[in-house]
Amino acid sequence: MPTLEIRDLHVAVGDKEILRGVDLTVRSGETHAIMGPNGSGKSTLAYALAGHPKYTITSGTVLLDGEDLLEMKVDERARAGLFLAMQYPVEVPGVSVSNFLRSAITAVRGEAPKLREFAKDLKAGMDALSIDPAFAQRNTNEGFSGGEKKRHEILQLELLKPKIAILDETDSGLDVDALRVVSEGINRFRGLDASGADTGSGVDTGVLLITHYTRILRYVKPDFVHVFAAGRIVEEGGPELAEKLENEGYEAYTKASA
């Protein structure tokens, strides 16, 4: 049963300490929401876990299924089952979506998918997310709108089937329709059908949902909510904590940490 265990994680960018002791455990079958004001370090946590070179781990441990995640290279982390849906997906000129996805699936599975099977999965995945099939031949993220980039991230999530998915502000910049489509994709990954009933297919997956707003949590219901401020978790609770934030905002936390 996959587990992501973060213990006393400290992360710096240059000389500046951004994360100041984060403790969090995400087990498969669980969805955790991390909420917090801008600049609280939410995205730093996401990118540090994925291994972005800009972020330096100054102390702490992160284990994925008992393996030391921090010892792994970026691609090794992904192959070990970690996925980061990025807030700002990167444009890769000259590399088609189709070529990119096939390379990624080949890397993660350790063997190239059969062409027909890949074409079928890709088409089904794009249909489910209302992505125009012509996108398969477009350059990765190049000229995509904000919403198209986010759908493309969730398409990757569904095709790569990681153990632990970190979704960094996947809801930002989405209109209501796009938010619904993207949320349905996340829920399929979690093993929930359209009515929200558990199909059992998500037992091996955990989700860490990073967001500034409670809006997406109406569609993707979290089991746990953590409030992030000034580089650490300052409060934890169930879904009711999200409702409290919806009504009261982050003011209480930003004042306390100032």
Binding site: D75, V90, V92, G94, F100
Partner: protein
């Protein structure tokens, strides 16, 4: 200086068939300052012994006439007059020229491949004329390989309404020196497509130029180069718009890796006062993959009329984008493969321009081989 006087550029200000009209370059001249003269094996100063060989063989489409002619052939030197000393040296020194003719309204049914293979020590000189008569169409491939010290001039004469597509592949052995001028002369409504691929050789200095004799000419010049440690690969473009309503587009992209890998790209476009309605754009991009490599990129656009349809240029040299590599790695793709994909993507749009599939495949394979080094 008024607009009616011929002007401005300090480049290309002289042309002559006579070697003596050009001083021996010292390396301080604008047109020579990037070129390592000491590695030219005497091509620039008359000390090169003409003891080398470059064999020219032609596998032409059935519609295309191939002739090997002497220096006195009337078709030689009509479209192009040498613009620098090595070009004049080549013009003065070649013994046999190769002339390809695509007759009026003929459409060549397959590419005509000119294979040039160098061997032996010492210099060799060459001259090629490709003449595409009115309304004719052809694809011509120049395939350079082997070991050589080679200077040559190539004239592409594209007639009224004719179309010529050229692929020039420079994949010489490591010790080769190649200094070459490619000149395309476009008649009314002529279409010229050039695809230059430079990969191998110690020093390659290729100067493609375009001129127009009547309105409606359309030139598209694309280049791809991959510079490895110690190599000097230089491309000097000149498009001279002297008549109204012609179009030119130049896109050159290169990747560099290794100690003392050196790429030079000069892109000169001149729009003369009489060339109203000109539409031109030139672009150069360099991808510097390692420390110790250097790219010099100098776009130069001179516009002497206010009535252009479009004129622009862009040049950028940079490292492999870390964010792109991170994004691919974050999807499980190992670093080497991610790097390969990004570089491949950098060249992809160019490669799509090669319409002849077998040639595109071959260029693709050559790029893959470079990436695997």
């Amino acid at each position: 200086m008024g607009l009616e006087t011929k002007p401005l550029s300090t480049l290309h200000e002289r042309s002559s068939y006579n070697v003596a009209d050009f001083d021996v370059p010292t390396g301080r001249e604008e047109e020579w300052r990037f070129t390592p003269l000491s590695r030219l094996k005497g091509l620039h100063n008359g000390t090169a012994a003409a003891s080398g060989t470059v064999d020219v063989t032609v596998d032409a489409a059935p519609e295309v006439t191939v002739e090997t002619v002497g220096r006195d052939d009337a078709r030689i030197g009509k479209a192009y007059v040498p613009a620098d000393r090595i070009s004049a040296q080549a013009y003065a020194s070649f013994e046999k020229a190769t002339v390809l003719t695509v007759p009026r309204e003929a459409v060549a049914s397959r590419p005509s491949v000119i294979t040039l293979r160098g061997s032996g020590d010492g210099a060799a000189y060459g001259h090629i004329v490709v003449k595409v008569e009115a309304m004719a169409e052809a694809v011509v491939v120049l395939d350079h390989g082997g070991s050589a010290v080679y200077a040559d001039n190539v004239e592409f004469v594209v007639g009224d309404g004719a179309t010529l597509k050229v692929v020039s592949l420079q994949d010489w052995d490591d010790d080769a020196v190649h200094v070459s001028h490619h000149h395309a002369q476009l008649a009314k409504d002529a279409t010229f497509r050039s695809f230059v691929v430079t990969l191998g050789g110690d020093v390659v200095r290729l100067s493609p130029s375009v001129s127009y004799t009547a309105p409606g000419g359309d030139a598209d010049l694309t280049g791809l180069y991959f510079v490895d440690a110690g190599q000097h690969l230089e491309h000097r473009l000149l498009v001279e718009h002297t008549v109204p309503n012609c179009r030119s587009n130049v896109t050159y992209k290169g990747a560099l890796q290794g100690e003392d890998a050196h790429a030079v790209w000069i892109g000169d476009v001149i729009i003369r006062a009489e060339a109203e309605g000109t539409d031109t754009y030139e672009l150069n991009r360099n991808l510097i993959l390692t420390d110790g490599a250097r790219a010099d990129s100098v776009p130069n656009l001179e516009i002497l009329t206010g009535e252009v349809a479009g004129a622009g240029h862009a040049s950028a040299s940079g490292r492999l984008d870390d964010e792109q590599v991170f994004y691919l790695q974050a999807r499980g793709i190992p670093f080497d493969e991610a790097r390969r994909l990004v570089i491949h993507g950098f060249f992809a749009q160019l490669l799509e321009k090669i319409e002849v599939e077998e040639i595109r495949e071959r260029v693709l394979a050559a790029v893959e081989a470079e990436l695997a080094r």
